[in-house]
Amino acid sequence: MLVLSRHRDESIMIGDDIVVTIVDIRGDKVRLGIDAPQDIPVHRQEVYEAIRRENRKAGQIQPSETRDIGQ
């Protein structure tokens, strides 16, 4: 993993069109500003992972199981 040191208000570029800026640092919390093209989704990792898990589990359900939903 590439590790870079940055001060507040400094940025890094990822490719040509993604800019990540350190907006604020307070204690152990860092606020990031992310400028990316509209077609690149940006998510908090833990939320994204949770949704991926849910979708994967949903993909195991069979039609025989959904009979009672909403009935």
Partner: protein
């Protein structure tokens, strides 16, 4: 065209009925073409079936059937991929999951479909909607007392 599915057999579908998800669905990023099917037995449930992977299908429900006040709160950028114009019909679906023996729906990451342009995406809402909203029976109509 024909789509093979492990759950519903081989389906004959119109190419125009396919819904294109340019980014796939979270966890199924390589599946870009899906078809929306009615559940054979339950009108409250639909299935998002991958046109590319026969065994990949997700049960979905219309969230407002269960939570009247549900609103999808996202930024304009998150909807950019849907090419929505004023007259397009937007369909909101939530993926059904299983939890503690019961069924739940994911209100945090609804699937949005532009029915007119056949474009879809799964978005993550920026309010704190639950990942697991219980799909309980809709409340029975109030009985009028005599």
């Amino acid at each position: 065209m024909q789509i093979s599915t492990t759950r519903f057999g081989t389906l004959c579908v119109d190419v125009d009925d396919l819904i294109h998800f340019p980014h796939g669905i979270v966890g199924f990023e390589d599946c870009q073409r899906w078809i929306l099917l009615a559940d054979p037995q339950n009108s409250a449930v639909g299935w998002m079936q991958s046109a590319e992977r026969p065994a990949t299908a997700l049960p979905v429900v219309s969230p407002r059937r269960f939570v009247d006040s549900y609103r999808v709160r996202v930024t304009r950028d998150q909807l950019a991929g849907l090419n929505l114009s004023e007259r397009d019909r937007l369909y909101v679906l939530c993926v059904v999951g299983k939890r503690d023996g019961g069924y739940v729906m994911n209100l945090r990451a609804p699937v949005l479909v532009n029915l007119d342009r056949r474009l879809g995406c799964q978005v993550i809402t920026h309010d704190d909607q639950p990942l697991h909203m219980a799909l309980t029976k809709p409340p029975a109509p109030l009985q009028k007392s005599a």
